[in-house]
């Protein structure tokens, strides 16, 4: 079902996005019936994987007013609330590749970014000491991992056939990621685009899968 990705990648229209949605791992999504056809997650993935401006526009339309309302509630200042739309949506664009759909909804992720930017904006406005920021107080769970794993699964050369024997012990999403990276030899970006998942999700699934394989094969770190 991923075969036509290259073609989809060219088109920025909603049909292409809808097709992508179909191939996102839907078990982790909870589509809101009140939303238009495309989930927030699918839009965010299109922004993160292929810098899709139309998808970003859609997200902007869906969230700008909510971010404004949050800003009004927390700052009671219209100018700051408008600034918050700019700051938060800029953050959404910049960090979209880090979003991890295994760790929560796109709404929750955008809420977290917006609340944190608002907190920092208010601190700056009140000229509070800058020894600490919102991201220290509410650490982001996605992406902030100390090690990255594009390396040998084992310290020594391990026969692929041996590893394949353990593949069925991985979850389907984990196995798909391992195949992309180790068997098809794709880069992280290519694999994320191919599987239609955020880069952040790809990295965390890969890390979990590799840890599990290492454990099964009995290789020490």
């Amino acid at each position: 079902m991923y075969r036509n990705y290259a073609k989809q990648n060219v088109g920025n229209n909603e049909v292409a996005l809808a097709v992508r949605l179909a191939s996102v791992n839907t078990s982790t999504l909870s589509p809101d019936p009140e939303d238009a056809d495309i989930s927030d997650e699918a839009l965010l993935i299109a922004v993160g994987n292929s810098q899709n401006v139309d998808a970003f526009n859609q997200l902007f339309k869906r969230f700008a007013k909510k971010i404004f309302a949050l800003g009004m509630k927390l700052t009671r200042n219209e100018q700051l609330a408008n600034d918050l739309i700019q700051e938060s949506m800029l953050n959404v664009w910049q960090k979209a590749p880090l979003y991890d759909l295994d760790k929560g909804s796109a709404k929750g992720w955008i809420f977290t970014l917006s609340r944190n930017r608002c907190f920092d904006m208010l601190r700056k406005q009140k000229r509070q000491p800058n020894c600490i920021s919102a991201d220290d107080i509410w650490p982001l769970e996605s992406g902030a991992e100390p090690t990255m794993v594009h390396e040998d699964i084992g310290g020594q050369q391990v026969e692929l056939s041996l590893i394949e024997g353990y593949f069925d012990q991985l979850s389907d999403p984990q196995r798909a990621v391992v195949e992309q990276i180790y068997s098809k030899d794709r880069t992280h970006e290519e694999a994320a685009a191919h599987l239609q998942i955020p880069l952040g999700t790809l990295k965390s699934r890969l890390r979990l899968a590799v840890a599990k394989l290492r454990n099964l094969i009995g290789v020490n770190e």
Binding site: A64, A69, M89, L90, R127, C131, I132, P139, K203
Partner: protein, 235 residues
């Protein structure tokens, strides 16, 4: 993580924390407690999920009457020119240990970050030392160390004091508090903390404390001055 914590922030306080409504000092002390307390960490996640659903609810009371008059297309056009971040910049993890008697204590991450520019310990009186953190201009935030066997003069709070126990234990008229406990005291409480085994705490006050008995009352102007000084520092 400690699963045997007795005293926690109230649900209301946790809720205001996840909504981003608390002043920095209070946010930091709640965040530090959550790092030590599994149940509050889980509860905060649930509260945040609720906050998010009410945020996106079209009928939500949160929706502002005023509407933004910002120029959306211009904003979008500007934003999409920015480069994206492909992998999280891993900030070198700050570690701060506080050495006490014969052992050292690793601070929760958020406190370590806040204390990374160095702590200036001052001996106050009777085996008590304090080191302030300057986090905002509304609260007085400080680490308080009580040496074994020492006690703080009887006092009350005009506002409220949130205290997180980081090591050891202390007790007052209302109970005994151990590592990871989160205690709130306000004007209703007249208390006299004391510690037999020694204790390191982090405390956030939103107004000066007031000694209520004996010679310690002479210190009250000093408490007020200290509070004013602590909250007037700017970036």
């Amino acid at each position: 993580m400690n699963t045997d914590v007795k005293l926690h922030p109230s649900t209301e306080l946790l809720n205001r924390f996840v909504q981003g409504e608390l002043v920095t000092g209070k946010s930091v002390v709640v965040s530090a407690h959550m790092e030590l307390c599994e149940s509050c960490s889980a509860k905060a996640k649930e509260l945040q999920a609720l906050a998010v659903s009410s945020w996106v609810d079209p009928d939500s009371v949160l929706q502002s009457d005023q509407s933004s008059e910002a120029d959306y297309p211009t904003m979008v056009a500007g934003i999409v020119k920015s480069p994206q971040i492909k992998s999280q910049q891993i900030e070198a993890l700050v570690e701060v240990d506080i050495d006490i008697l014969n052992h050292s204590i690793k601070l929760p991450k958020v406190l370590a970050k806040a204390a990374s520019q160095g702590l200036e310990w001052k001996k106050v009186a009777g085996g008590i030392s304090e080191a302030q953190l300057f986090l905002d201009n509304e609260t007085l935030c400080e680490f308080i160390y009580m040496a074994p066997g020492c006690q703080v003069p009887v006092h009350t709070h005009q506002g409220s004091e949130s205290t997180l126990v980081l090591d050891g234990s202390f007790e007052d008229e209302l109970g005994k508090y151990k590592t990871s406990d989160f205690i709130i005291r306000d004007a209703q409480h007249n208390h006299q903390p004391r510690s037999n085994e020694g204790c390191l705490c982090f405390a956030v006050l939103d107004s000066p404390l007031k000694f209520t008995e004996g010679f310690a009352r002479l210190m009250n102007p000093v408490n007020r001055y200290k509070f004013k000084k602590a909250t007037s520092r700017v970036a």
